[in-house]
């Protein structure tokens, strides 16, 4: 056989084999999307999570380790809706990675798959650090996770078509388990309907809506501004008229404001893991919701 032809055949064979050996490098902006990516891709992907449950995603800087990891990422999974606007665009332009720029299939925003709530009627910084597209803290509603999971699985198929069968099968299995778990959570969480709570930041809105709870106040005077003494006194006064049963904060929020209010208003202070890794128990998305519900139900007792 012509040696050139042999070489060409060998090269083609090598190229055909390549996709089957490739693993998807996933860069997740927040732990909830990292956990979701792991559920959907299993061992077909290596997942790097840029932030932890103890970090406020608004305050992250485009530090060198993020740029280095984004450099080799095939797929970036972020929340979007300007949650990461302070750092992700800089990470994208500094990384030298053309696949993860805005508009490319390698850049996936969870909020683009959903309908957001609390869209501001008026966009003005005097109202605090608000997000134009709506409340971006979408992951504490199981139906949102399901919708994002379906879209994310299809994006993985688009980027790594060699593993289509595996991604679709894992997505189907995950969504089935998720559906059963969601039904169970709704039953377990039924006693929480109508529970009035104070939250630290407006990052619990989707959880409140899903469980039918009622948010009666926030520790922050306006979104993104730290709690102040004046505002806390006003909040305490308003709770006398419209009481709350608990003050709820995420694991990354500072504890002092919640403890102060808890003492003065004589209501329990609840710390929710908020995302995967925020507590000992919340090791994956299923445990996250289990732990969140059990901590909230403890208030009822």
């Amino acid at each position: 056989m012509n040696p050139n032809l042999k070489f060409l055949i060998g090269l083609t064979a090598w190229l055909v084999v390549q996709p089957a050996l490739a693993a998807l490098n996933i860069f997740a902006c927040e732990p909830e999307w990292g956990a979701l990516a792991k559920e959907l891709a299993g061992d077909k992907a290596s997942v790097y999570v840029a932030t932890t449950a103890l970090q406020d995603p608004h305050r992250i800087e485009a530090r060198p380790s993020l740029i280095a990891r984004a450099r080799t990422a095939d797929l970036v999974v972020c929340t979007g809706a300007e949650l990461e606007i302070g750092w992700m665009p800089l990470v994208q332009t500094q990384s030298g990675n053309s696949r993860i720029q805005a508009g490319q299939p390698g850049y996936f925003e969870a909020t683009r798959q959903l309908t957001l709530i609390e869209i501001p009627q008026q966009l003005d910084r005097s109202l605090g650090d608000i997000h134009a597209a709506g409340n971006p803290h979408v992951h504490l509603d199981p139906s949102n996770i399901a919708r994002v999971a379906a879209a994310l699985a299809e994006r993985m198929v688009q980027l790594d078509p060699g593993e289509t069968v595996q991604y679709r099968a894992r997505a189907k299995a995950f969504l089935e388990r998720w559906r059963q778990a969601s039904t169970r959570w709704e039953k377990v969480g039924a006693p929480l309907k109508g529970l009035p709570i104070v939250v630290h930041h407006k990052n619990m809105s989707y959880l409140v809506r899903w469980l039918g709870m009622r948010e009666v106040g926030t520790l922050e005077p306006k979104p993104g501004l730290p709690p102040t003494a004046t505002h806390m006194s006003e909040l305490l006064a308003s709770l006398a008229r419209d009481p709350a049963k608990a003050v709820v904060r995420a694991a990354y929020n500072e504890p002092r404001a919640a403890e102060w209010l808890s003492e003065r208003a004589k209501i329990p202070a609840v710390t929710l893991p908020f995302t995967v890794g925020g507590s000992e128990r919340a090791k994956d998305l299923f445990d996250l919701f289990d732990d969140t519900l059990s901590r909230l139900l403890a208030v009822q007792k």
Binding site: Q55, R59, R63, P64, S95, G96, S98, L116, A132, L225
Partner: protein, 466 residues
């Protein structure tokens, strides 16, 4: 017709005599009324049914409109000429300064003046530079950015106007136009984002505050878990320590490398090494001779600079919202080799134009720490040191006429400065700073400075540079 019947009925009733004869009429009228009522009843029923259906449809329409609304309003105005508007942000700054020495007499003795606006702010109230930044994606391949500084003297200075590639891939990115060089650590950070009101002494003495280049920059990020980046710039070399060279090819260039990473969840670091080389041609500065006459000195030769930089940031578990700490320092070595021309024809006119060799080998460094101790409040301290080391002035050494006293700016001196600051940031977009400094840049005079500064940003959200 109905009315007429009614009137007929009334008339008939009014005349009871005709009652019997009207009975048949009455019966007929009653029958007609019943029929009419039936017809109207039927019509009312039909109308009620239609109303119910219409209301139900309106309810459905409302719900789907409510659902559609978020999707529609969630995005910005989707049509018209302004649909693709770039991101625009504006920085407003100003100062109130109290300085014990006259800011107009500021000099860094021992070092060739760098020509930048390196002095302290004017006394009393003063406007700082107002910065307008406009940026956006041009197409899938490029993005662009403009930063124009509007000075209090009513000049518009282009700080940066560049394009940057998006699609080269493989870790490469190319930038071209006018941009802040990526040497060192502080050089490519805009002044309003600094932790102090002014630049460290080495930046003032060796780079005229910040080096801006007209040229191109190529950066490459290595595909390693530890951040490693290499870059090179070629430029016209027209900014200090270069000059307007009016020659073909690149007048100056830099190469640099940075490495960085995380140490556990709480620490992040970056360190780098940079090298700058340029060939100034007739780079001039003004000075005074020993009797106070004006002198113009101009240097032609080669200038080289090495910068080593390091920054370490700490926040508990990496969450910088409540408390955080930042430590940074840079070391500079600056050498020049060439010829200096002393020209007093515009002043005392004693020696005219005298030229001889001129070599300098000088260094400087600074270290600063900034600590956010509670949300919104930060405190910082900085120490600057410049070392005169060697300035070999052939005109003086070879006794060509002018003596060392005719080069007052180059008198042997090791400037130092201590700066402390406290700043309060009510939000991410506003900052008020109080800064104290004890500045020994001038030989024989210590300038005690108290500066109050405000920095406000409005418009698009700025990037959190590391």
């Amino acid at each position: 017709m109905f009315k007429r019947k009614l009137i007929a009925l009334a008339v008939a009733l009014a005349f009871p005599g005709a009652a019997l004869a009207q009975d048949a009429d009455l019966a007929k009228i009653r029958e007609e009324i019943r029929q009419l009522r039936g017809t109207y009843d039927q019509r009312i029923q039909v109308l009620e049914q239609r109303l119910k259906e219409a209301e139900a449809n309106a309810g459905k329409a409302e719900r789907s409109a409510a659902k559609a609304e978020p999707a529609a309003t969630g995005t910005t105005a989707r049509s018209g000429e302004s649909a693709f508007n770039p991101a625009i942000s504006l920085i407003l700054q100003g100062t109130y300064a109290n300085t014990s020495q006259d800011p107009n007499t500021f000099q860094i003795t021992g070092f060739v003046p760098s020509g930048g606006e390196v002095g302290p702010p004017k006394r009393s109230f003063g406007l700082g530079e107002t910065e307008l930044t406009i940026s956006g994606n041009i197409d899938p391949y490029f993005r662009g950015q403009l930063t124009v500084a509007l000075t209090p003297e009513n000049e518009a200075e282009i700080e940066e106007a560049y394009f940057q590639t998006l699609a080269l891939g493989r870790g490469f990115s190319l930038k071209g136009g006018r941009f802040l060089s990526s040497i060192g650590y502080l050089n490519d950070i805009h002044q309003h984002a600094w932790d102090f009101q002014d630049a460290p002494l080495p930046y003032k003495a060796f780079l005229g505050n910040q080096l801006k280049e007209d040229g191109i920059q190529l950066k490459w990020v290595a595909p390693t878990p530890i951040f490693f980046e290499l870059g090179a710039e070629v430029s016209s070399g027209s900014q200090f320590p270069g000059s307007d060279q009016n020659k073909n090819g690149a007048g100056g260039g830099t190469i640099f490398g940075h490495a960085g990473g995380d140490i556990g969840p709480s620490y992040a670091w970056r360190a780098g090494l940079s090298y700058l080389r340029t060939s100034p041609l007739n780079r001039a500065y003004e000075d005074m001779d020993s009797v106070g006459g004006a002198v113009t000195n101009s240097f032609t030769g080669k200038a080289r600079m090495w910068i080593a930089d390091a920054v370490l940031k700490w926040a508990p578990n990496g969450n910088a919202s409540r408390t955080n700490f930042k430590l940074q320092g840079e070391y500079f070595r600056f050498t020049q080799d060439g010829a200096l021309t002393y020209n007093d024809t515009g002043g005392s006119a004693v020696f005219g134009a005298v030229t001889d060799s001129f070599n300098t080998d000088q260094s400087g460094w600074y270290a600063q720490g900034v600590w956010q101790f509670i949300p919104r409040w930060r405190v910082g301290y900085r120490y600057d040191q410049l070392r005169f080391e060697t300035v070999s002035n052939g005109i003086v050494n070879n006794a060509l006429g002018p003596t060392a006293a005719d080069f007052p700016v180059l008198a042997s001196h090791n400037p130092t400065r201590n700066t402390a600051m406290l700043d309060w940031s009510p939000s991410e977009f506003s900052r008020l700073r109080l800064q104290f400094a004890s500045d020994n840049s001038r030989i024989g005079a210590t300038d005690r400075q108290v500066i109050l500064q405000y920095i406000y940003s409005l418009g698009a959200h700025a990037a959190h540079k590391f």
